[in-house]
């Protein structure tokens, strides 16, 4: 009996990169390298993983008179974006450009930002040309201070609700253009 070879996979642990654009890219499916460079890489500020999820509900079809069984069909899909949780320094937030507050400065409540998420790209490196991504246009909620959820006592962090910006309902896939 021969054993099947394991398929190639992609790690997500430490292999996620997040770049935030404050201004809309010309094309969401082909963000250019220059537009990406102008964004803020927040990979080292965000805690944990940040993966949007989707729920697809089933809808029952109307039963015909001759039927005793009905089937379910695919219904609405609702994408959800989890709150963003990132580190910030509460005593220096009033000073623009202060160290460690880059994520705080880009995630402004009530603003629209474009979060470009790369899976399988090291978070501590800048994503490069032809990298595939998911972009999420987000409408941001208020910032809520909290200790980070770890067992070491916690760093000062912010939890911020994020929802799809008006006109968008799902992540958009794309590849970085030259």
């Amino acid at each position: 009996m021969t054993q099947l070879p394991m398929p190639a996979t992609t790690a997500t642990w430490g292999q996620q990169s997040y770049v935030v654009l404050s201004s809309a890219p010309a094309s969401l499916t082909a963000i250019t390298a220059a537009e990406l460079t102008a964004g803020e890489n927040v990979s080292c500020y965000l805690y944990g993983d940040w993966f949007p999820t989707a729920d697809t509900e089933g809808v029952s079809r109307a039963r015909k008179a001759c039927q005793t069984q009905v089937t379910q069909a695919k219904g609405n899909t609702t994408w959800q974006t989890p709150p963003l949780s990132y580190s910030a320094n509460p005593q220096t937030i009033d000073t623009p450009g202060s160290a460690g507050n880059e994520a705080y400065e880009v995630f402004v409540p009530d603003s629209t930002v474009y979060v470009v998420k790369f899976i399988g790209v090291p978070g501590d490196e800048a994503p490069g040309a032809t990298d595939a991504y998911q972009v999420l246009p987000l409408d941001l909620g208020p910032r809520v201070w909290a200790p980070s959820q770890d067992d070491a006592g916690g760093e000062a962090s912010i939890n911020q609700a994020a929802f799809f910006a008006p006109g968008y309902s799902a992540p958009i896939d794309g590849v970085i253009a030259a």
């Binding site: 201004s23 809309a24 402004v108 409540p109 603003s111």
Partner: protein, 86 residues
């Protein structure tokens, strides 16, 4: 001092945080960030023109070209053992 400001940068006008705008050296405009109905002002070109999604007809044109070609081939009847009907 409101944190969200209207800025002009890279040929665009949009809402951004004051701290980010200061750090990046973006021009901060004395303009509202929200419309009268309470919704945020959408991003525009620097001259106020509305942003439109980038569209291209190249793909559609290529599809159409392919379809037309296929249709021409379809319209010719298949050859029989006696040759074509032409």
């Amino acid at each position: 001092m409101s944190e969200l400001v209207r800025v002009r940068a890279n040929g665009r006008e949009f809402n951004a945080g004051r701290a980010l705008a200061t750090r990046r050296g973006w021009e901060i405009l004395d303009e509202p960030t929200h419309q009268r109905d309470g919704r945020p002002r959408p991003e525009t070109h620097a001259n106020g023109r509305r942003l439109k999604p980038k569209t291209t007809v190249a793909k559609a044109a290529e599809e159409k070209k392919k379809d037309t070609k296929a249709a021409v081939i379809d319209s010719e009847s298949a050859p029989t053992s006696e040759g074509t009907d032409r």
